[in-house]
Amino acid sequence: MPPPSKTSGKNLEAESILQAVVLADSFNERFRPITLDTPRCLLPLCNTPLIEYTLELLAVAGVQAVYLFCREHSETIKNYIKKSKWSRSYSPIKIITIVTPEARSVGDALRELDAKQLIDSDFILISGDVVSNIQLEKVLDAHRARKSVDSNAIMTMVVKEASPFHRTRSLGESPIFVLDTKTNECVHCESVELYPRKRRMTMDMEVFKKHADVQIRNDLIDCQIDICSVEVPALFTENFDYQDIRNDFVHGILTSDLLGKTIYCHLVKDVYAARVRNLHTYNAISKDVLSRWTYPIVPDSNLQEGDSYEFMRGHIYKEKDVSLSRSCSLGEKVLIGAGTEIAENVKITNSVIGRRVTIGPNVEIDGAYIWDDVKIKSNCSIFRSILANNVVLEENVIVKRGCLLSYDVVIGPNVTLEPYTKLTKHKKTSESDNEGEESNENKAYDSTLIGEHGQGYIWSDKVSDTDDDEFDTKNIQIAGLAHDISNISLTDSDSPPSVIYESSSDELSDSGESTTEEESLKEFFKEVSQTLERAFLDGHAVEIASLELNTLRMASNTTFHDLRVGVIPTILGQIDIENLLTSAEEILEQWGPLIGKLIHSRQDQIDTLYILQDHCAIKQHHAKLFAPTLKKLYLLDVLDEDAILEWNSSELADNDSSKSSIRKKVAPFVKWLEEAEVEDSDSDD
């Protein structure tokens, strides 16, 4: 650990103490079930707790006071800090732990900070899981320089240039930044979700009034290191609805005309900076540490007291007291902690092995993270998975990619874990899941899944109540440990091509365009029928139902025709087939006028007739309904005879037998109408 230079420390003291705020809680549940036992910031990355990387970075930058915000497991964190080198008398930084059990977001934490009035100058806001070798002094200087030019600058976000598909750029969580080309002022920031797929990024034209040239960047890694001015926590207090620092705070500041504050980005290129956001980045960053991209923050710098890593050829790191068998083979990028014993014929590549691990003979390990005190018995294979402390694998266990075995889980013997299996010793007894509690109460371990001696429950990620849970799980999957980037499609092959010139656009984009339109129409129909069903159930008045439908129509920007197409079948659907005539009479008596509300002209009437005809032609069981419905609607004055006659005299487009048979059904009625009309005109004369 390079100690901070004394001179710089003195200089800072002269001005004021450099402060940093570390968010030890991530306010999400990406690392469940492991984080049920350990706070996220203490998860070992290359056998060193994550928080060490962040604190090291701050110490090197000359930070003297760190406010550590904890929510869950605060005692564990406090104890850890108390025991660590940061609490020794020679520690360059003073860590003050602040426990905010009620905080649900970054915003809450910053409001707490404001309430406590701890900050008196620019400070570094960083999350407790950042791995970086960036020189923060430079960023601080740049921030101060910007402030002297633009007194409204309140924040500098550190972003790193990389390819859009960079391994540490967690897809779906890295926003698009729009920067002023000259000043790097952030003018727009938009998050990009993968599911549901984002098709367009959109920003306000106002931006161009102030900034002639802007740069739209989808290749920046948000390092989650921000240099904030004193105003920032106060702004959070003022706007108590701000939760997330990017989606709410940055967005809020940028779109607010009133505040007039500005936010800048600091672009870094040649340094390493990444945040352990999820399992995917955990994997990527571990590999980067082993490949020394993060130098000088590498295992052989021995960040913690008592570390004794040595760097060997082929990116192999070994602590003291590792016993390797003669026939075991270590491939590239392997890290092995002290006290680990590896038996004969073991093959290890691309993996991190913790301390005091015992690995039995004939075991194959690739891309796995095996934490402390794990016991792996003979003939096991582990691929791209995490085994937390004290996990035991009995003989012949195969762990396929993406698995997560939490603390103390026992597996085996002779089982294979499917990809993405998550296991924990915790029964799912969280408060939010009462049913689960009951059912799990007496449930023994599922031995078919995890073996005879197995101990552990399957952990399934909480499924949210919203409709798009499919998307949520997909998003979680991308963030998973072993997700292949090739599985994500980012080209717009399934979206319609742009229309450039009018005349031929019809032919070329018909297929594409209509699919999305169809989708939205389908959605619309669904909502129409839902609205109606509510009306049927609650017995709404026709006026209210029609008002609701109209609102819906305007909201989805559709026509009355679409509305009729949606409404008529739903109403007909209410008619009891068994008891056709009386039921039709009843339903139409009540709801027929609703159809009338949707009709404004002769043309609309004819359109209604066609809709009826088409519907009854397609839905065979409704074919019988056609004649009574027509009659009833006529009697209700929804349809008049002119419209019916005009409809009847129109040609059928194709020789559709079902449609013509439908027409035959009403032939007597039409005839009656015709005669009535003749009589009418007779009497008029």
């Binding site: 034209m205 960047r217 290749d219």
Partner: protein
Amino acid sequence: MLPFDANKKQSKQKHGRYSEFQAIVLAGYGHRLYPLSEDNNLPKALLPLANKPMLYYVLDWLERAGIFDVLVITEANGEYKIGHYLKNDYEGKLKPNLEVVREDVGTADVLRIFSEKIKSDFIVMSCDLVFDLVPHRLLDYHRTHDPTFTALYFEPNKSEGGGGSSSSYKDDKDPKQFVGVDTNKSRIVYVASSADLDEEFSLRMSLLWKFPCIDIHTNLQDAHLYIFKRWVIDLIVQRKAISSVREHLVPLLIKCQYQKKLLDSEGINKLAATYENYQKTAIQYSASWNDDDKNSPVRCQIFIYKTGFCGRGNTIYKYCDLNRHTTKIHIDPRVSPSAEINSKAQVGSDSLVGDDTKIDERTSIKRSTIGTHCAIGKNVKISNSILMDNIVIEDNVKLDGCVVCNGAKIMEKSQLKDCEVGGGYVVVSETQAKNEQLVEFRDLD
């Protein structure tokens, strides 16, 4: 590039030189230059800049670029005058072919009509472009990147103000152009005009995945000079709906860079594949070959000209700006030897006077361009103005910021400021006018 190509041999015989590029110069009508481009004056291509027609500057640039296969395309009303100019007055070495099209065809339609005549990669440019870009810089840029097309954009030069015409012609009226350029490869990936955009500016995500770092410029202007691959002509021929180069063809090709579907639906994949690219093969074997775009058949480059002068004379305001600039850098004798200038008259060193023009005593001329065969009376003050040919100006007239067309007559004691005087129009004596267009009314049909 292809010295033994059969097609090229023909053109070789014709011009005695091998041409790598053909040039198509579009000499349109110039609607936005009313009344200067009226029939009683000159077509746009012949409007004088420092007493030389605009077209001269374009042809001069092409000559310096070594492009000898030049097709000048005009509309019916300009045929006679431009033809006459090319035959009799044009002093360059090029022998441009003049072709005429109907008035209402788009720029891409023009290319379709003359597709038979376009045999190699080609340059499409407008006759109103004046720029001091050394030709090989642009051509070499195109050769090294070898894209589907290269477009020239420029940062407009600061206008010197005091414009020759009414302020209502200032280019504020032009809608803002949005140009998206990939920062690393200087590919042009987005074009839009603020006229087409509402309150929101929006980009496809597929664009942002393909080109993750895009500079959006709002202060660049399209010079309307494009260098196209030959196969683009085939595309235009195939797709009748493409009518304008700027509005249809260029946006289409730009979108093809990131929308795969479009490539298929427009049949561009096939077209681009039929085109055998010898140069690409050559580059492929060289060490600097960079692989990443190999699979994309359409690549659009942008050349942004920043440091020098570049402008288009498509509005009166810009035309005056161009004239001022060309006048400033004019190197020939500033006052023609055949002009008769009274010894008591003053002609500023920032002005030009054409052949056989007479200027009488106590007249002063500043920052102005006077054409040939003009007669300027006594005690006349002309500043910031353009006078074309055969103009009579009587005594005691004051002109400031005016454009006077061929054959006009301004009678004594008139005072005009920021006015345009149409061809052959007579301004009666003691007229006082400001910000006006003085033209004879024609029947509108």
